[in-house]
């Protein structure tokens, strides 16, 4: 399954890219599993996802928890807690 990923703020800076398309292996079914899989890619990803609990995630422009499935998603985004307003 092909999946568009978006990274923002310091997650983007550590990962080293703002967006990419990935093909996660079959065993990766939730966003939490996707984070664990991404964290193993290289040092940048490892640094971005060092403390997974602080990472907020969105699925197709809606906030979701890490236990949300990736099945059927078009775009998954990873970012720190929001500081707008």
């Amino acid at each position: 399954m092909s999946l568009d990923l978006r990274y923002f703020a310091w997650v983007r800076e550590r990962v080293g890219t703002a967006e990419e398309t990935v093909e996660p292996p079959a065993g990766v079914t939730t966003i939490g599993e996707l984070i664990a899989w991404l964290a193993r890619r290289d040092e940048g990803y490892a640094a971005a996802f060092e403390v997974p609990e602080v990472i907020r995630t969105a699925r197709d422009h809606e906030h979701v928890e890490h236990d949300a499935p990736i099945e059927g998603a078009r775009e998954i985004a990873f970012f720190p807690p929001m500081t707008g307003g």
Binding site: R6, F8, A9, W10, R12, A58, H61, E62, H63, A77, F79, P80, P81, M82, T83, G84, G85
Partner: protein
């Protein structure tokens, strides 16, 4: 009549008077409007600028969802939210929320609710540039903002 909802994400500055007029002009049933403006502070002279990053598409969608929730909770004529992105200097505006209603309590509460949720749920991130040239880094989320948003979850409202 369902309330007008106007959401914009833009780099440009905005004008409170004309945004309020867009909610009230031609209407004779609006008794109250509350316009909240968030400004960039210089943090005691240490901040040179903020850069606001956002998630295009989701920012509009999420703020729209918050505004729709406000429209469900209070009797509103209309609600506007405008959030800037890009580089913003101390003394400049960052965000505007306008709520218009028959009665003042609804306008005050809806504007306050929208700001509290916008702070904790709208996908924006602030990065600081310091006057002294050091890297200010990403602003950390404040627990007080989470607490402000949570107070609406227990149904706190005088209506």
């Amino acid at each position: 009549m369902s309330p007008t909802i106007r959401i914009r994400i833009q780099a440009e500055v905005f004008d409170t008077e004309s945004e309020t007029a867009l909610l009230t002009e031609g209407r004779r049933d609006v008794g109250a409007s509350v316009a909240f403006t968030g400004w960039c502070r210089d943090e005691g002279g240490t901040l040179k600028a903020l850069t606001l990053e956002h998630y295009p598409g989701m920012a509009e969608a999420e703020i729209t969802r918050i505004a729709e929730e406000a429209a469900r909770r209070w009797e509103l004529s209309g609600i506007t939210a405008i959030h800037r992105h890009g580089r913003i200097l101390p003394g400049e505006k960052i965000v505007l929320v306008v709520a218009a209603a028959r009665h003042r309590q609804a306008a005050f509460e809806a504007a306050s609710f929208l700001m509290d949720y916008l702070k904790t749920r709208a996908p924006f991130w602030k990065k600081e540039e310091r006057i002294d040239g050091t890297e200010g880094g990403w602003v950390e989320a404040k627990e007080s903002d989470d607490a402000a948003a949570e107070r609406w979850e227990n149904g706190e409202s005088s209506e």
